[in-house]
Amino acid sequence: MMRTMPPSWLLVLGTFVALAALPELAHAQLDDDLIPATKSFVSPERFIVVFRGGPYTPNTGSDKTFKTFYGGDSGPLLDLELNAIALRVPKVLYVNVGGSVGMASYSGRALGPSGTVVSEKTTFTINPLVAMGSLRIDALPRLLKVPFIFTGKAGWEWAHWSTGTGTRTDATGWSVGPFYAGELALDLDTFEPAAARSMDEEWGINHTFIALEIYHFAPTSKSLPIGATAWLVGLGFNF
């Protein structure tokens, strides 16, 4: 004969369970009211911007005039690059199109009639404009948590230059030619994923990185030879 529990014991147990569960039920219902439905906090990713700078000394080839006047002056070149993401293979690569604008200026002492240095200054200013396409591979940080991103860039550069002595503008013009660059970026999201998520939620910034770029500008033979191979370092954002 199966033994049955006394009804009073069952009643006590049932009451205890019900009482214990009531606050939880109420609390759960309250949280449900307050917390919005689960959703993705990943914002759209459409652009990549990089603020950067670095020394830039035009390589004038056999002509030493630039070095004579501005020797030791390395600019610097300050640059802003903006790329639109044309194609994104998630967690693997980007195909971008974009451009950059920059500025570098140099100053030296002018020469007097007998070739001696005088106190008046002669200046040279370069404002490079670049249109480019780039391939950006970020599979390492996204898939393997290795914080390196590789980018190859190619484009065409129009470098506006201007030179003057004292208040006099001596000449202005454009030097144009192909532009190539390779960029190694350190992905900061890999080190601070929580901060990266927060920046995306608050600012819509998907990724943050430090970029080191080696680039080469080779003006055509008919241009003023102000091309160079130089490096730039900066901070970039995907947004």
């Binding site: 959703k39 993705s40 990943v42 914002s43 759209p44 459409r46 652009f47 911007v49 002509d63 030493k64 005039t65 630039f66 004579t68 006047f69 501005y70 802003l80 903006l82 604008v101 500025m103 030296g108 002018a110 020469l111 007097g112 009639p113 001696t116 240095v117 005088v118 106190s119 008046e120 200054k121 002669t122 200046t123 040279f124 200013t125 404002n127 506006h160 230059w161 201007s162 030179t163 003057g164 002595t165 004292g166 208040t167 006099r168 503008t169 001596d170 000449a171 202005t172 013009g173 454009w174 030097s175 144009v176 819509g204 003006p219 055509t220 033979s221 008919k222 241009s223 003023l224 947004f239």
Partner: protein, 386 residues
């Protein structure tokens, strides 16, 4: 008035009312004019030039010495047949209250004296021009007044009598007759369109500097690269100093070779370039900066002797600093040297514009604001996925 209010509210309301009454009474007592100050005085012009009271510009030494005319505006006289017959202007030694009747008379040791007066009509409420010269206001050459001189405008019924006690006003006249110290260490460069000039000044009482030069400096110096640090005559040097040993018949030969007959260290010149003698040229350098750049065309000569004068807010000019020489020479910059070395930019390429000299060069300054504006627009208009 609070009788029908509940007790607690009534007590609070009464306290509040009392406090407000006391505060208003105190404010009125502070703001209300004193019973005896019956009119207001404003300084309208100094030597015919409008005086801007907001600039708080003191009268300067030159204005004091030349006894320039001050014109005051007097308003809010009692009028209506209660005016005194005259308004007198009294001044006294610093700290002397010339408003006390017993000190307004010549019998009281001349502590205060009347320096101007104007007869008024009984019904006058405004005197548009109460004129007085600075004679007697600034002291004399042996005891120059510095600071705020209190002018007492007193209503009297007969000249030099006691004032009508309720008709007077005072005006604080700022006087600064002390010029700043002369700048030192003036050095100039060599160039064509942008020649640097530097100097130093230890005086805190400086409003701006004035560049003064003699465009007819003679004995053209041969410049060299070191001219920007040329040794020069110190304004504080005595005549026995080696630096001025070349002085001969009013001409000082500067250590670097140029000489000037009309501009020497320690000279006193006008604080305003427009008031300089015709043989000198000048330029105001605004602010307390101790460097500037001048162009050869501005200097008007190939060799000039240059000095600097410090000017204070009142317009007192310091003595001329040491004198230095500036040579205007044609200069060659990068572009000239590049072309001279055979460098060129070939014309004719559709993708490469030649470097042609232009007077109105294309500025790239607009590129950066445009780029940043585009970036901002992109960031603003992008939509986050919710």
């Amino acid at each position: 008035m609070f009788a029908f209010w509940p007790n607690t509210m009534r007590a609070h309301a009464q306290n509040l009312f009392l406090s407000a009454f006391l505060a208003l009474s105190a404010a009125f007592a502070i703001a209300a004019p004193t019973a005896s100050a019956q009119f207001t005085v404003k300084l309208l012009s100094v030597n015919g030039a409008a005086y801007n009271v907001m600039s708080l510009r003191p009268l300067n030494k030159k204005e004091c010495d030349s006894h320039v005319k001050l014109s005051f505006l007097i308003e809010n006289l009692p009028g209506s047949n209660v005016n005194p017959a005259y308004i007198e202007l009294w001044v006294g030694p610093s700290g002397t209250d010339c408003n006390v009747a017993t000190r307004n008379t010549n019998t009281n040791g001349m502590q205060c004296m009347s320096v101007a007066s104007k007869q008024i009509a009984k019904t006058d409420k405004t005197i548009s021009s109460f004129e007085v010269t600075t004679a007697g206001l600034c002291g004399d050459s042996t005891n120059r007044f510095e600071g705020t001189r209190t002018l007492y405008f007193l209503g009297v019924n007969s000249l030099d009598s006691n004032e009508v006690a309720t008709v007077f006003s005072t005006y604080g006249l700022l006087i600064d007759q002390q010029p700043p110290a002369a700048p030192t260490g003036v050095s100039g460069g060599v160039g064509d369109t942008e020649i640097p000039i530097n100097w130093s000044s230890t005086s805190s009482d400086v409003n701006h500097f004035e560049l003064v030069w003699d465009p007819n400096a003679s004995s053209a110096a041969t410049y060299d690269a070191g001219m920007s640090s040329m040794s020069t005559i110190d304004a504080s040097s005595s005549s026995s100093d080696a630096a001025v040993s070349g002085e001969d018949g009013g001409t000082v030969t500067q250590p670097n070779g140029c000489s000037s007959k009309v501009l020497m260290a320690g000279d006193e010149v006008a604080a305003d370039p427009k008031s300089l003698p015709t043989e000198l040229l000048g330029k105001t350098i605004e602010g307390k900066v101790v460097s500037t750049k001048v162009s050869g065309s501005e200097l008007g000569s190939k060799l000039v002797a240059v000095g600097v004068v410090a000017v204070d807010l009142a317009g007192n000019a310091s003595p001329v600093s040491n004198i230095t020489c500036i040579s205007v020479v044609p200069t060659t910059g990068f572009w000239g040297a590049y072309k001279d070395s055979g460098g060129t930019v070939q014309p004719g390429c559709t993708c490469s514009l030649p470097g042609q000299p232009r007077n109105n060069p294309l500025t790239m300054a607009a590129v950066w604001p445009i780029a940043l504006a585009l970036l901002g627009l992109v960031a603003r208009t992008r939509r986050r996925r919710s």
